[in-house]
Symmetry: C2
Subunit: 221 residues, 2 copies
């Protein structure tokens, strides 16, 4: 039996999955250190993701050492990882991650990158191989499904890539860790959603002290 | 002891508290009947508020008759009403409601309307009296606090009025009934929020089968 197609992201209460783009105010390392917007950007990012950093699974998966919290937040982070047989991501998420991920990238499965660049598969230690797909979201999904086997395909991000799959009717369900923070600006997860076509069915709503974990199934209207 | 200042609204998962404005496509009754956008608007509005219509409290408060659901959704609707000693609302919410509320308006307390129009207090059967305030949000809040006594002041809406009070640091806490629907367009609750000044502290997160009820305390940064 084929798995599901899902996404799982952290979202601010006002609907953002990333703070305002840093493009344009981070041209040089000196500018980075001096620009107060960076501190604001970092604080927003940390508050958005605050629920996951202390978790045992997060520490394990990034080889940050022993310990960490266990409980609902940890279980949810671990389950999102364990159900995933392959991931799909947009070009910009990949390019940012290429700079930021440790050598042992945290996916440990095949990852299909939507891009116009042609590039040979890039194999990382620990089981992550990035495949570069030049012929669109359906092709990437076909390849990701084949690679995932019976496990699920995760649309990893960013927001635009998630929305492309959602509006195309290709997402079965999704989870949001709703964080107690307001951004005011940034990348909105659902900006441009085709509300005339996408209906939601609540599956679970699980509060922790750090976030409210919401799961919805997607239904056509 | 003075009460708290709060708001309590239903919000779509993508952050909207009202569908796209109908202004401009509802000029005449004939246009209303023929314009397919009205059906879409009504469906969005009904889905946003779907959690409250079946509740016993809602039926009681609008004199719709006996019966109705009891449980978490009903308790939450009733508590929001019972804690409220007075309300504040913007001009547009009042003008819409003036046409739509039954003669026995559903507030049953003093209501302070922010407006530039001068008008004598308007007393309705059932205990609601609308007072028209011409000198700003602080004056309206002073009057609403005095009228509320030991009970709380509710910023009833619309979204712009709520945001004025939130950005002015005058809101103590708020509740959101997060409904399982995506709007794509409309009035965003937090559009223009001053994220550099407003911090949130999670108070409660209570899921029902119809909505997720979120409560946050507002803290200055």
């Amino acid at each position: 039996m084929a798995g599901k197609v899902f996404f799982s992201v952290s979202m601010s209460l006002d609907g953002f999955v990333a703070p305002e783009s840093m493009e344009g105010f981070l041209a040089t390392p000196e500018q980075r250190e001096q620009d107060p917007r960076l501190e604001f950007w970092m604080r927003q990012w940390m508050e958005l993701q605050a629920w996951i950093f202390p978790q045992r699974f997060f520490r394990e998966n990034l080889n940050l050492g022993e310990g960490g919290e266990e409980g609902l937040d940890n279980d949810i982070a671990r389950q999102a990882f364990e159900r995933t047989g392959s991931s799909i991501m947009g070009k910009r998420m990949f390019e940012g991650g290429e700079l930021a991920w440790p050598e042992e990238a945290p996916f440990h499965t095949p990852v299909f990158v939507l891009t116009h660049k042609q590039r040979d598969p890039w194999e990382r230690p620990g089981g992550t191989t990035f495949h570069f797909v030049n012929d669109g979201i359906h092709s990437a999904l076909d390849q990701a499904r084949a690679a995932a086997g019976e496990r699920d395909v995760r649309i990893a991000g960013g927001g635009e890539t998630i929305l492309q799959y959602l509006n195309a009717g290709l997402v079965d369900e999704f989870s949001i860790a709703l964080s107690p923070v307001l951004f005011g600006a940034g990348t909105r997860l659902f900006d441009g959603v085709d509300a005339a076509k996408v209906a939601l069915e609540p599956v679970r709503s699980e509060p922790s002290s750090r976030a409210t974990h919401l799961t919805y199934a997607v239904r056509p209207r």
